[in-house]
Symmetry: C2
Subunit: 331 residues, 2 copies
């Protein structure tokens, strides 16, 4: 077991669990340098109470054991887990993980974080600022290192404004408008939608029975990006998306001049058709902030959290629904 008096002597474990799978990294506690990683495309099962702790541990414990063998089984000083929906759905995880990790590796310092927090720590480390994580959904998280502020991330019916699902949904609505002869329609988007999904009138029958409707909607977002240069309706959708994303960043960004705002996640790989209006909206709503490159991804963020726990240098604030600390690392 690692003693509290030698916090940085060993390794740390970082875990990123989300809809697209599970990733685990083993890193040096002192430097945060990653030594080995494991990844699986099988997402951890979720039930009504959130992530299944059993399924999570079934995957994580052997993965860490294998990684540790390859690094000489040095002691694990701390672990950090970032998981989608940790905030509202992770009761089972919170109840079972601390003991399971302690039993398996003797690790007592543990952080459980919402995936938005690991995205933040990956993008900006422990600096104050704001991070917008965009993919199928969209959430903005900001901190002045005293408390967190969160905006959006409410899902495709209540928000996620400007997300992949939001852009794709707006694009498909514009396609159906063109199909009907209603104002606001886009013939190029109708043509793209019919190439992807078949005749427009069949789209409801394809979409509504699916359980992954937000992902189906988001799958159309790149088409909106591709049409934007020549189609004013598509360009208008991305201008509104850029404004929504900037509004979320504005709501969470600390007031300090020069606060960094980082954009992270697959949404921003759409490139200039989205980034140009977004930069313009950020310039208008947050003239004092500066756009920062995201330094790393959520797995890097989990490693950074674990390393900060191990070395007693954690500055990001605890929060009951965003970042929970257990064991000797807890405040």
């Amino acid at each position: 077991m690692v003693s509290v008096n030698e916090p940085a002597s060993g390794l740390v474990v970082g875990v990123d669990s989300g809809g697209s799978g599970l990733r685990v990294a083993l890193a040096e506690a002192a430097s945060g340098a990653v030594l080995e990683t494991f990844s699986s495309r099988e997402p951890v099962r979720t039930g009504p109470d959130g992530i299944s702790a059993g399924h999570f541990l079934e995957q994580v414990l052997p993965a860490v054991a294998a990684l540790r063998e390859r690094t000489g089984a040095r002691p694990v000083a701390a672990a950090a887990v970032g998981a989608a929906g940790m905030a509202t759905l992770g009761d089972e995880l919170r109840a079972e993980l601390p003991r399971a990790f302690e039993e398996a590796w003797g690790v007592r310092r543990l952080a459980l974080a919402a995936d938005a927090v690991t995205a933040y720590a990956g993008a900006l480390g422990q600096r104050p600022g704001a991070v917008v994580a965009g993919g199928t959904g969209l959430i903005a998280l900001g901190t002045d290192l005293t408390a967190w502020r969160r905006a959006d991330g409410w899902g495709h019916l209540l928000g996620d404004c400007g997300s992949g699902a939001w852009i794709g949904r707006a694009g498909l609505e514009a396609a159906m408008r063109a199909h009907d002869g209603r104002r606001g329609g886009s013939t190029p988007l109708l043509s793209r939608a019919e190439k992807l999904f078949g005749p427009a009138a069949g789209l409801p029958g394809l979409l509504y029975p699916r359980t992954d409707r937000p992902a189906v909607l988001a799958s159309f977002a790149p088409e909106v990006g591709r049409c934007a240069a020549a189609d004013p309706v598509a360009a208008g959708i991305l201008a509104r998306a850029g404004a929504h994303i900037a509004e979320a960043a504005e709501a969470v960004c600390p007031a300090e001049p020069g606060a960094p705002v980082a954009l992270t996640g697959g949404l921003f790989r759409m490139g200039e058709p989205l980034l140009a209006p977004l930069r313009s909206a950020l310039g208008e709503l947050l003239p004092g902030a500066r756009t920062a490159e995201a330094a790393g991804d959520p797995l890097a963020g989990a490693v950074a959290l674990a390393a900060a726990l191990a070395t007693g240098t954690l500055r990001l604030p605890e929060d009951p629904s965003l970042l929970r600390l257990f064991g000797a690392g807890a405040a």
Copy 2:
């Protein structure tokens, strides 16, 4: 069996089957005057192929038998069935109903109609014009008596713009924006949402696991109406809803000057907060049309269709996905 030469001698059956239940009327073929009605709050079961024909017939055949006993078992000259989703989902119904009705009552003239068509026939009879049917969803249907034009009705993710689900969803988004401190938020809507659903942060957990998400969203629409007088955000949502509804009407309304536009369905019971911006948008987009009172409901429309079939006076156009005719009444 009713002969083709005495089309108006008997009775007609009208059926309205939808999400809120089943209604059946027995009426005079010659006048369309309703003699008896039956209603059940149990909606007909639907599966992947649409309405269950077995469940539908289990309810309709005994109901019609009971109504006929009370009217002296006079012959049935024609029947018309309006059903939600007939357009895309009614294969089983189309395959089984004609024979089942002929076996039960000797009736050979049958119309199967999308619920939007029975709404049209109930509201405007057989005149050319446009009808907007609004509730949880929203669809506009228009005809010049040569062909039908349809706009929207694509469901809460692809359209139904201006519907109850659309208004409620926009209201809840505004509530979440206020919760986050984002622009475009409404504190009055946040307060109404928390009174109805509890703390805002718990709303995703309440909404997304439901299978009747559109109905949950639509349940918030009346709150948007109530807030509109004092809250500019709520008023803005209803102004956009009014514009969307007028756009759907514009897309389907025949060009003839003075064409009637009727609004029907529970959505419009929201009253002036929605109707005032809607009238203004209709005046702008359809200056040549006139708003008409809906004469009757979809059950009255089904009766009107059946009476027209029985008397050989059907003027509304056949359409493979909106109005199908079977037996001697078919063109």
